[in-house]
Amino acid sequence: MRSWLFTLVCIAVGAITYAVMRGVHSEYLFVAGYVVLEFVVLATAWNILGGYCGYVNFGSAAFFALGAYTTIFFHKAYPLPIPLLIALSAVVSGIAGLGMGYLTLRLRGAFFSIATLALAVVLQTLVVNWDYVGGSRGAYVIRPQALSAFGLTIPYVEYLFLLMLALVVIAITTARLIERSRLGFGFATIRDDELAAEASGVPTLRLKLIATTLSGALMGMAGAPFPYYIGYLQPASAFGLEYAVNSIAMPMIGGTGSWIGPLVGALLLGTIQQVATVTISSAVNLLIVGLLLVAFVIIAPNGLVGFVTQRLRAREP
């Protein structure tokens, strides 16, 4: 499928999703749906670096929080519309990703992963000690009740949901575009064998930096609307462990090979968690994610998508 056609299909699917959800007349559906979509963006972003290049980022929460705090910063300094804040967050988190990559990607892969763990804690400490963005107490964002544009009025939650839906389309088309391009080839060679990749002319460091920047930027974009969604942003919620674990678990469970895996994983796990948070406790629900992650990496290393395609292939004569 051509890329523009694929984008159109994505937009159409998004529009239908929205139309169906409106039909249900439940604000809760949008509140929960927002979180699921947010995880789709995070999982897709993580997979660009993790699944395509084979570099594990444990610091998704840091990039997400950078996006959220960019919003807080401008909310105080100079209020801007959210789409613009999303773009700014992409720049800030993208630069953070580039810097991270530049500092550690020349080393062994494991060092990069360890450094991403460190980044989350360093940033959290900085934010906790930075009073302008609320410090450890957190910061309030006054959210309007509704948004009016072009003569239409929609509840603000729906507006946020639509924004996240747009980010999902952006993330997925970006991921698919990469897969089909020269860049995708290059990423695959990095994941398979960096020495051989260099010997074949692949500029591995530059490609890895592209991946960390793109991945970081997308995560920051996912975080930008978050303060408006939650209304009161604390460092502990912006840097929550659930972002780090989910952005790893979702692609791993769905399958890291293509854009479908993170999407499937995030929709599935995100929905389960939304249901479980209401019915059971949120700690139990995180425990489930952790257990699923470990079970899947051991039993189904290619995720659900890999499992299904293997089954289909086996059935062929």
Binding site: L195, A197, A199
Partner: protein, 244 residues
């Protein structure tokens, strides 16, 4: 000799306290067919790694095609026209055999100054190189499904697909049958006739002797002989290194 294509000057490399290369000097003329031999662990692959940028030599310098390439990243050297095959094949496992060759075509050949390969030409080149090594029937297989011998052919084909000026083949023939060795030799000679300079590293002496115009011998990280193959093998020092 005209300006050498490759000039290795006093190159030294250590691993911890172990001296793997000790002041190696080597010049390779454009169009030459050079054989490089030496007992196991004598430093042949290490020399290749230093020339191609997979390892960084602590001392000495390397010039390629009239330009110092010390400190240059490995991929830039490949783009300049320096390709190598790995002694232990390192295919890209998640790509098909054909896609393995697309990588150097997309990243090395296309990045070269003045090169305008279309997607179609890339495909044609890829098929041509697969045919050269006799892997055209396996184009859509994964490297895991290949035999060891086919894996070596793929390794060689991927180096050829970088369309280099200098090709270094590091033991591409180990484990091949007699007729397969002949096929690969013929292929290398044909490439050489197209103007590609070739360094062949090999343990099969008959192959080295029939291929090489000049023979270099490494022993314990030192070059102990360099010259006409027939003379070099009669060199008492070389005989001693191989027999004693």
């Amino acid at each position: 000799m005209a300006e050498p294509l490759l000039q290795v000057d006093q190159v030294g490399k250590r691993f911890g306290g172990f001296v793997a290369l000790d002041g190696i000097n080597l010049a390779v003329a454009p169009g030459e067919r050079l054989g490089l031999i030496g007992p196991n662990g004598s430093g042949k692959s290490t020399l290749v790694n230093c020339i191609c940028g997979a390892l960084h030599n602590e001392s000495g310098s390397v010039r390629f095609d009239g330009q110092a390439i010390d400190g240059m990243a490995a991929h830039q050297r490949t783009i300049l026209g320096l390709a190598r095959s790995f002694q232990l094949p390192r295919p890209f496992h998640s790509l098909s055999v054909a896609e393995n060759l697309h990588v150097p075509l997309l990243y090395a050949v296309r990045a070269r100054f003045g090169s305008h390969l279309s997607a179609r030409e890339i495909n044609d080149h890829c098929i041509e190189y697969l045919r050269l090594v006799g892997l055209d029937a396996k184009a859509h297989k994964r490297p895991r499904d290949l035999t060891q011998v086919e894996m070596r052919k793929l390794e060689l084909a991927r180096a050829i697909a970088a369309e280099p000026k200098l090709l270094i083949a590091d033991e591409s023939m180990a484990g091949l049958s007699h007729s397969e060795v002949e096929d690969i030799l013929k292929l290398l000679v044909r490439l050489n006739e197209r103007g590609i300079t070739i360094i062949l590293i090999e343990h099969i002496m008959s192959a080295v002797m029939s291929f090489s115009q000049r023979l270099v011998v490494l022993v314990s990280g030192k070059k102990i002989a360099d010259g006409d193959p027939a003379e070099v093998v009669r060199n008492p020092e070389v005989e001693k290194a191989y027999l004693g």
